[in-house]
Symmetry: C2
Amino acid sequence: MVNKRRTPGESQAAVFRAAAQEFAERGFEAARVDRIAARARVNKAMLYYHYRSKLELYIEVLRDMLRAVGVRTRAIADGSAPADAKLDAWIAAIVEEAAARPWFPPIMLRELASGAAHIDDATLGMMNAVFLTVRDVITQGQREGTFRDADPLLTYLMILPSILIFFARQRVIVQRKSVHGLAAAAPRDVDEFIRHVQTSARAMLRRHT
Amino acid sequence: MVNKRRTPGESQAAVFRAAAQEFAERGFEAARVDRIAARARVNKAMLYYHYRSKLELYIEVLRDMLRAVGVRTRAIADGSAPADAKLDAWIAAIVEEAAARPWFPPIMLRELASGAAHIDDATLGMMNAVFLTVRDVITQGQREGTFRDADPLLTYLMILPSILIFFARQRVIVQRKSVHGLAAAAPRDVDEFIRHVQTSARAMLRRHT
DNA sequence: TCTTGTTAACCAACTAGTTAGTTAGTAGAT
DNA sequence: ATCTACTAACTAACTAGTTGGTTAACAAGA
């Protein structure tokens, strides 16, 4: 009698959230469908009612975060601000997005590590679209003369991985306190981190030696 | 009759190499012991003759690379060069080590992504030891007045992840050519990459605004 | 107001296939 | 003769996905 049935879409959303967490913690292969269903307080058959397969569910999670990040960074790149302001905003956007969706950094890291093994071309294109937004900002700065002539891809590779690993590392430290000599590795404040990345990125792109 | 038996340690080494590749390509969970044995042209029971479990084998692979990187970077940090030269050497050492052991970057990335899920405290300490070498170099530079007062950990997090993902990304690009709009992502030369990271790291740590 | 048909939401129990690890024993080198 | 290197065949446990249903909600006709 008591609320057996949830409102429409509610259990689908619960499955999605549970899956995002499970995939972040364990990775695609080690994630267990049974565990996702249990976390979502849903029967496994219900999960297969909403999603065709484990892989489809995984790709759904991936696309959701890539869509969010892609839209936000594209808006920044297409704005009318000067390049260095755009770069700051781009960094802040990625960091905030990663902080808001804790599953984003681990999942993305693992995808990169596996050579994007579970990603179809369309989704890989969405990943690449995020790079294209910084590339646009960097080339704008180079045209305007504020940035030095650095390779946009290599610069991108100095910024994004740091952000992903920063959040992944916070988790390590929280989970396993007190490893000998790990004192210096105490968790850092997110705002402090944003400022550090912004300062570093600006320095990397400043002209002159 | 024909060479049934390999010389001592030979098949153990074959298992080790096969395992390193398998773990790098698939990660700990998705790696299959049967596949490792097949790659090493060894019976699975032979594998268990040399290693107690899949996990022990994995940790062996991890420690091997951490030992190599740890020793080399420690030597650099303990040398008598000025801090900026040491920093260049540190970066070159990591990049060369990653290039020489292709399994190093993917395995390390996945470990970071999973919150070092498969790592015991001793091995985690070895990971941390690598950080301590750059930290020493950075604080030396700060004492000498050549580096600005940047957080060593956050600086470390701008350098190492980039290197790891750079190599992981090369693999993605080689494996899956021709994704729409991925042209700008063509593989980069390793030497060019080393120089880029060195230039960026120096810029990040330069004093003044 | 009360059936009754329809459909979306839900589930216990099963299946077919896979996997890490074991056993019990063989054969070459010294 | 004995020890080290080696193996085919096995097992117990697990896993993604399926089957064959039940149950609540809601709407339309009587």
